[in-house]
């Protein structure tokens, strides 16, 4: 009962903070978007050259450090890793490509839905379908193998990097690229973004909130507990969007979105498929990386690489729709992840 209440409270906070960040300057329906934020971060580090999407989003560093700090305080920090890091990197790489074909991670999909963007509803159907297929593979014995205890240095290195990045953002911002127009130029004040990330990061660590896990648990175990978190985000952001007049129902003219239903479906399908095999959505991977899971840290590096390649080679969609390269990359993503899945199926015997 308490678990459910905590998830609803945390999800509601996420909805409030997300709408608040948009009011403070973040792009529309993008109070939080883990995929978009990694894309902007990749740009600010010079990993891709798309000028409109370069900004070291402090929310990301806040998420990592919020999870890191609260897990240490609560004694849950746990250095571990070694469960197929390279396969995780590759799956994450394609999850990011799928997200950028759709134009958002599962978190932003929910926020887009809360803003009345019906293209996100198509994305949600794809996301659920991808999770369904991944869930079948999990039931059939899909496993990336066990992780093992690692040194504290290995478990905390990623959070240290986030800490250094905060220092650079605050004191040496000239080292980073920053958009002067486009989504990368739209952002809430740095310290408020960082604070929002810290709050969301620590709440997500406490509640294990996961956008993919909710649908997965419902499919696999008929357990709606985790889904309450995402539902609370949706309901809260929806009410606040209505109250502030930002709710606009329809398919056409939605902010940073396109109307090609097939590619919204397949893009988010790839995100759901990959996320469920990785064990969690991009938000959850970020939180796990903060609490010492170096497999999730490698997963995040895969997201950054996927974002960089997406923008260097024109895979990411625009308001006009998906690109030919993006469509091909999405189909390659399904193929590669499926090949990985069949290669790692566990034998159904127990030792």
């Amino acid at each position: 009962m308490q678990e459910k209440r905590n998830l609803i409270v945390a999800g509601s906070f996420f909805g409030i903070i997300a709408v608040g960040l948009v009011a403070l300057g973040n792009p529309a329906n993008m109070g939080f978007c883990i995929a978009c934020f990694y894309r902007d971060l990749a740009g600010s580090l010079g990993l891709h050259a798309a000028a409109p999407v370069q900004y070291a989003r402090p929310e990301i560093m806040g998420l990592i450090l919020g999870s890191f700090l609260i897990s240490i305080i609560k004694g849950e920090f746990n250095s571990r890793g070694g469960s197929s890091p390279v396969l995780r990197f590759i799956i994450a790489f394609f999850v990011m490509i799928g997200a950028l074909v759709f134009l958002g991670c599962p978190f932003r999909m929910i926020l887009r839905l809360a803003g009345g963007d019906l293209n996100a509803l198509v994305g949600l159907v794809g996301f659920a379908a991808g999770i369904g297929v991944g869930g079948i593979l999990l039931n059939k014995g899909f496993s990336l193998g066990r992780s093992y205890s690692q040194s504290r240095a290995e478990g905390s290195a990623f959070s240290m990097a986030a800490f250094v990045l905060v220092g650079i953002v605050l004191f040496l911002p000239m080292l980073l690229k920053a958009s002067t127009s486009g989504p990368g130029s739209q952002h809430a004040p740095i310290l408020l973004s960082l604070l929002a990330g810290l709050i969301v990061g620590s709440l997500a660590q406490r509640t294990r909130l996961c956008m993919a896990g909710g649908i997965r648990d419902l499919f696999l175990f008929k357990d709606p507990t985790l889904l309450l978190g995402s539902a609370a985000v949706l309901v809260t952001a929806f009410i606040l969007n209505l109250a502030t007049g930002s709710f606009k129902l329809g398919f056409i003219g939605q902010p940073i979105a396109h109307t090609q239903w097939l590619w919204n479906f397949l893009g988010m399908g790839l995100v759901g498929y990959g996320s469920v095999l990785l064990g969690g959505c991009p938000l959850r991977q970020t939180i796990l990386a903060g609490e010492g899971n170096s497999d999730s840290a490698v997963t995040v590096l895969g997201f950054l690489a996927g974002a960089a390649v997406s923008h260097n080679f024109g895979l990411a969609s625009s308001a006009q729709g998906a690109t030919t390269a993006g469509k091909i990359a999405t189909l390659i993503g399904f193929t590669v992840i499926t090949l990985i899945a069949f290669a790692v199926m566990r034998k159904q015997t127990r030792s």
Binding site: E3, E76, N78, R80, S83, L138, N139, S143, L144, G145, R146, S147, Y148, S149, R208, C210, G213, R216, D217, L220, F221, D223, T225, L278, G279, G280, D295, R350
Partner: protein
Amino acid sequence: MQIVDTRGLSCPQPVIETKKVIDTKETELQVLVDTIAAKENVSRYAKAAKFSVSDTKTEYGWALELKKL
């Protein structure tokens, strides 16, 4: 009694492995977990399947004793 070793497995594999054993009509099993998320998830699933859950701290995590109610 069956022992299900889920240490080091990502979500949701600890629950899947537990479910597989519960589905064989086993009434008593021990599940080894090494993360708090896995401990919570396995416990939640076991309770929903009408099992009692008691946990013992071990050097690598927890041993969960599941008994059919």
